[in-house]
């Protein structure tokens, strides 16, 4: 009998804790959110009180409002954004790439940046290989 009561009470406790944990998932610490975003909230209030102000104007007039690593909706270009096809056009055959990537309206900013990076890599490698080949050729000529 004792075993039976113990088993039932264990099941009951497990069910209650399982249920409790599910609704507990739908909670969050409002204070933590407010604290973490407090600097941005101060800036937000400043913007509402000074209609039409931009961030650069805020920095000029009130540098205390400056926020470290502030950015807008757009994200910076990263390696993950690289369009390797466009990069190859810039690297291997930039004159054709000019038409297939840069002047192509269907290509996005990431493709155009990738093309320019590819072109830049080709220029840098070209300069290095020229310097090396002149050095090797010069030393051979000397001997």
């Amino acid at each position: 009998m004792k075993k039976l009561i113990l088993t039932f009470s264990l099941i009951a406790v497990m069910l209650i804790s399982a249920n409790a944990s599910k609704s507990d998932l739908f909670t969050y610490d409002q204070n933590a959110v407010n604290t973490e975003l407090s600097q941005l909230t101060t800036l937000e209030n400043y913007v509402y009180n000074n209609e039409g102000v931009t961030y650069s104007q805020v920095l000029e007039s009130n540098s205390a409002m400056a926020i470290t690593n502030m950015n807008g909706l757009s994200s910076a270009f990263s390696l993950g954004d690289m369009d390797w096809g466009a990069w190859a056009w810039g690297f291997c055959c930039w004159p054709i790439g000019l038409f297939t990537v840069i002047l192509n309206k269907d290509k996005d900013s990431n493709s155009k940046i990738s093309y320019l990076i590819g072109f830049g890599c080709a220029v840098v490698l070209g300069i290095i290989s020229n310097i090396v080949s002149y050095a090797v050729y010069g030393s051979l000529w000397y001997y």
Partner: protein, 227 residues
Amino acid sequence: MFNNKLCINLLLICLFFNVNIFSQTFYRLKADFSMKEKKPDGTSSLVIGKVYFDKNYNKVVYVIDFPDKQTVIMHDTSFYRIEGKKIVEHKKVPNTNDFTIFNLCLNGKLINYGLENSIFKPTKVEKENNMVITTWVPDSKMAKKMGNVMLSVKDKKLFGVIIFSPKNEIIEKKFFNKYINANGLLFPSEIVEIRYYDGKEYYKVTTYKNVVVDEKGKEDIYNYKIF
């Protein structure tokens, strides 16, 4: 007698053409918004402006005043950033317009977070603490890439969304607070998003004010022409 016949005929016509004469349909929305965010890469972001959405044009147009004056347009799989009249950024992005808060609200699908008729299927429905909690499970083919999604509904309004990883770890929580009634359209005026990354929580709070539904005119903004 004639009137009765006419009424019956009208009713039959309505039923035949599936005309829903009792429910209100909305097609466009405008609001002032403010988006505050701290990201895992250490950057912070505050964006303030107006957002315009017309479900027929399927373009989300953000006319941004802060941090800089610019316009951002999300259309199909394209992201455009325009300064003045010039496109300064054009990116290919996943098409998320159907799952924006604007489209979900206008189509009355926010209560299920648009998961109805998706790759997710509801499995468990539980009632607890004034909440109805539904667990949505992804299609078996996608189970390796996507985890479950739990939705909680309070007072017949979507309250929370929890997105799990395939390993059943919480990736993200979203809370839809402070619903307002804009000409019959229920719209959450505050959305709190919590992202979990490397054991830390990262917050994003979006607030909406001055929500206007089915505004007439302003076609040039709702259907922003991109050249």
